[in-house]
């Protein structure tokens, strides 16, 4: 048997070829798996929604989403979102600021509590509010006495949505503030800036992209929130039904009607817009 001596260079090249061939196959299989699962699990349902929504043509679609109940549901969802997002932005900044810049008893606890809405099912949040503000609830008598309606009305929907979306802004802003440290703010103070000037001219510009990013996540979640809201809204079409609730109602009533899919398609479009905004902001956020 003759052994042709291979020089070191050839050996390395051969080894690399063999390794590359193996790697190439692994890569192909993984890519195929990812594509197939994305197509079936995510893309197909979305495409199907639009396909069904436009099954009766654009006219049918338009008629479906301009029924008074659906329009009202869209309107209600917009109002809830417009209230929830600014409140959560303010809340998020306050929490992040407190945790990042101060040492106080309960700081660790606060950090954990802020995350709670993420680990609790929204239905449970809804039920908690029911127990707290309901007729038989803890605050029920007080609210009735003062003629305040919380449940089965806008305040209840807003409160539950606030609960569910509370962590989004704080979660984005806090790590950034911790990473940036407080030197810039201290520099501003030594230069004579007052508290609000430090915030306005130094802190805020530093966290603006994270803030917007958190706000978009918060808005997307507020628009799509179903579980918690379904418990406290009372689900009256044309009165307390938000868009997700209205979609379910339409689907249950008329099963596979254009109306349900048309309403669903509007929600999907909001989600896609949020996704695009999110991607755009994420790239800015990373640069900061």
């Amino acid at each position: 048997m003759t052994v042709t001596p291979m020089n070191a260079h050839d050996q390395i090249a051969a080894g690399r070829r063999a390794a590359n061939a193996g790697e190439r196959w692994t890569a192909r299989v993984l890519i195929a798996l990812a594509l197939v699962s994305t197509a079936f699990l995510i893309a197909a349902p979305l495409v199907y929604i639009f396909w069904r929504a436009f099954a009766a043509g654009i006219g049918g679609y338009w008629a479906a989403i301009t029924t008074p109940d659906t329009l009202h549901a869209i309107w209600l969802t917009v109002i809830v979102t417009v209230i929830v997002v600014p409140v959560n932005v303010a809340f998020g900044i306050a929490v992040a600021w407190a945790i990042a810049r101060f040492r106080f008893p309960g700081r660790g606890l606060l950090m954990t509590i802020v995350e709670i809405p993420f680990s609790i099912s929204p239905i449970i949040a809804g039920i908690c509010y029911l127990l707290l503000y309901g007729r038989q609830g803890f605050l029920g008598p007080f609210l009735r006495e003062h003629d305040i309606t919380v449940l089965f009305a806008l305040p209840g929907i807003v409160l539950v949505t606030l609960f569910v979306t509370a962590p989004f802004v704080a979660r984005e802003v806090l790590p950034l503030m911790l990473a940036k440290g407080s030197e810039q703010e201290e520099a501003a103070v030594t230069l004579g800036a007052k508290g609000w000037q430090v915030f306005r001219y130094v802190t805020l510009p530093g966290i603006r992209w994270a803030l917007l990013y958190g706000a978009v996540l918060c808005a997307a979640r507020a628009v799509g929130e179903f579980g918690g809201v379904s418990v406290v809204s009372g689900r009256v079409a044309g009165q307390t039904n938000t868009l997700p609730l209205q979609i379910e109602l339409l689907y249950n009533e008329m099963n596979t009607s254009v109306a349900a899919f048309a309403a669903a398609s509007t929600l999907t479009m909001i989600a896609i817009i949020a996704l695009i905004a999110k991607t755009f902001l994420a790239s800015h956020n990373r640069r900061d």
Binding site: E183, Q184, A187, V189, T190, L191, K194, G206
Partner: protein, 370 residues
């Protein structure tokens, strides 16, 4: 502005970082706070700036009690170690910041601010960088902008935390002499923190050496180099060789060591320690010598013999190769001490009480008689 600091103490939790600091800084002086990390020098600087508050003590500037004044009202120029420039503002806006945030009544007009910024940019030799963002600048340029931003408020006192710590050696040297000229031109009382001896001694009028929350010594480069006030300072200044000696009638002796060149000192008889720099010990060939040459290495300019003493201890010394005697391994030598500092043993804890090293140990007799 003259700064007077007295009995300043500060603890973080159970960790006492300043254990009673006393310094008097004169008007227009340039002072370096020198010490290893953890010596409390940055904390002291931050207290002067109003970014930290002491637990007790006094801080007065031109007679005014600064501990009752908030940081933003002290008009301090503080330069941070990592510059802390505002990344979203141009160089021009960074420098103008301190003027633009003033209350409307005290704020100079836009044109005045612009002129002042332009002047500062000229003064700092960076007019071409006016419209850049901090992210587009090198470390040395950022340092200049940070100093410009601090000077723009006409600070009463200028404080710099490790101003050259994050720069490479060549830029450091440049900026060092530049900072000196900036100080001389602006005549602002300046304190800077550093752990670099060369930097401290080259730049400062007086150097304050800090160790573990205490001031070990205050003085000029020569004073501290020749007469370290404590074993800590001696070690810090490079006297890393410690030889046990006995004092008798003010003279230090030790077997195998020639101490004739050390001045007599007003020291009590008994055991003491001689602190010497490696370059201040000369091995002299002597057949009766008690030290042995273990090995000799050369860096070209310097010889580094390692010597073994009568008790088996190894020390490494440095001598100029040109002036060196012929040394080879195994040879017997006597150690001649060119200069050194003697400290008597002090029971642990005793020295710390007043925060002041016991002076009698350190000052040569000659000096004491003056």
């Amino acid at each position: 502005m003259a700064i007077e600091i007295a009995q300043l103490r500060k603890s973080f939790g159970r960790n006492e970082v300043l254990k009673g600091i006393d310094i008097a800084v004169e008007d227009k002086e340039l002072i370096a706070l020198l010490g290893p990390s953890g010596s409390g020098k940055t904390t002291l600087l931050r207290i002067i700036a109003g970014l930290d508050w002491p637990d007790s003590g006094r801080l007065e500037v031109d007679g005014a009690d600064w501990l009752s004044i908030a940081a933003r009202d002290r008009r301090i120029g503080f330069v941070f170690q990592h510059y802390a420039l505002f990344p979203h503002m141009s160089v021009r806006d960074n420098i103008a910041f301190g003027m633009t945030v003033r209350p409307r009544a005290e704020r100079p007009g836009k044109a005045v601010i612009a002129r002042k910024v332009t002047e500062l940019l000229q003064f700092l030799q960076i007019p071409h960088l006016a419209d850049r963002l901090p992210g587009q600048l090198s470390g040395g340029q950022r340092q200049r902008v940070a100093l410009g931003r601090a000077l723009a408020i006409d600070p009463r006192v200028l404080l710099l935390d490790e101003p050259f710590g994050a720069l490479d050696a060549a830029v450091r040297r440049d900026l060092r002499s530049w900072l000196r000229s900036v100080h001389d031109a602006s005549e602002t009382t300046t304190i800077f923190v550093t752990h670099d001896q060369d930097e401290a001694f080259e730049l400062a009028d007086r150097v304050v050496i800090m160790g573990e929350g205490r001031i070990e010594q205050i003085g000029t480069a020569d004073q501290i180099h020749d007469h370290p006030a404590s074993p800590f300072v001696a070690r810090f200044m490079g006297a890393t060789i410690e030889l046990p000696v006995r004092i008798a009638a003010g003279r230090a002796t030790a077997p195998g060591i020639d101490t004739a060149r050390i001045e007599r000192r007003a020291l009590p008889d008994g055991a003491a320690t001689l602190f010497v720099r490696p370059a201040d010990l000369t091995p002299v060939p002597d057949p009766a010598g008690l030290w042995r040459v273990k090995q000799v290495t050369s860096t070209g300019a310097l010889l580094r013999p390692v010597l073994t003493g009568p008790e088996g201890q190894d020390i490494a010394v440095e001598i100029l190769r040109r002036a060196a005697p012929n040394l080879s391994a195994g040879q017997s030598v006597t150690l001649r001490v060119e200069t050194g500092t003697i400290f008597t043993e002090t029971p642990p804890g005793q020295r710390g009480q007043a925060g002041q090293p016991s002076e009698i140990n350190a000052i040569p007799l000659k000096e004491k008689q003056k």
